[in-house]
């Protein structure tokens, strides 16, 4: 298990992405899946950095655990920001034209399309979002 506890700011995005891809590479995960998970992790981390603490700042804790059976990666994102369940966000209508398209919700939609499991809970004043991707 690897753990990262860092300020939830965009500048730390690459640190988070490096950790996740490093762990996946160690497991000989196919590059295609690493790329997909990189996008998914970006969407989740950036959501925290942009919205969890309003105008202020705070930390995000990221727990990365590789699993053998089934083989895959489990990532948990924890923040102490405003309670927010991204799974409640309605999926965007992906059939609308460019002019009609609403861009909100696209990030979490991409996450849902990528991972095999996703769950959210609010516990002890913390948002806890967990994803699992098998490979």
């Amino acid at each position: 298990m690897r753990e990262l506890d860092i300020a939830a700011i965009d500048d730390n995005l690459n640190t988070v992405l490096d950790l996740v891809s490093e762990e996946m590479e160690k497991m000989d995960c196919p590059p295609k899946i690493i790329i997909k998970m990189t996008v998914a992790v970006e969407e989740i981390f950036v959501n925290i950095s942009h919205y969890a603490y309003g105008e202020g700042t705070g930390n995000a804790k990221i727990l990365v655990e590789t699993k053998e059976d089934p083989r895959g990666i489990s990532i948990t994102f924890i923040d102490s920001g405003v309670p927010y369940d991204p799974l409640k966000k309605e999926d965007p209508d992906i059939n609308l034209s460019a002019e009609e398209r609403q861009i909100g919700g696209l990030g979490i939609y991409m996450v849902k399309q990528t991972v095999d499991e996703i769950d959210y809970r609010y516990e002890d004043g913390k948002n806890i979002l967990h994803v699992f991707k098998s490979f």
């Binding site: 965009d10 995005l13 790329i35 997909k36 990189t38 996008v39 970006e42 861009i103 696209l106």
Partner: protein, 99 residues
């Protein structure tokens, strides 16, 4: 990400290299805001783009909206991973993607 723009008359080609993500999308947004005046043909060459996140999609959508009003926009050389992102998000129907 590296952004290279090449303009010939009213045609512009923007070649991107790297990741079009949260950290780099704002640079491209600046180019789109400032350099598309009088452009009727816009080409995005994505051959060296590894992936596009939602922040990147947002900028490509903004460019498409501008070009819907003043001409044409084409996406070229998107790799398989980028194509999959366009596919999953329905951007295949919004953008004019040359295979």
């Amino acid at each position: 990400m590296t952004i290279n723009t090449k303009q010939e008359g009213s045609k512009m080609t923007i070649t991107l290299e790297g990741r079009l993500d949260t950290l780099t999308a704002p640079e491209l947004e600046e180019v789109i805001k400032e350099q598309l005046h009088g452009i009727t043909d816009l080409v995005f060459d994505l051959k060296d783009i590894a992936y596009v996140s939602s922040a990147g999609l947002r900028v490509l959508l903004a460019a498409q909206k501008v070009m819907n009003r003043q001409g044409n926009m084409v996406i070229r050389n998107a790799n398989e991973d980028v194509m999959e992102i366009f596919d999953v998000t329905g951007f295949v129907d919004i953008l004019n993607i040359e295979s």
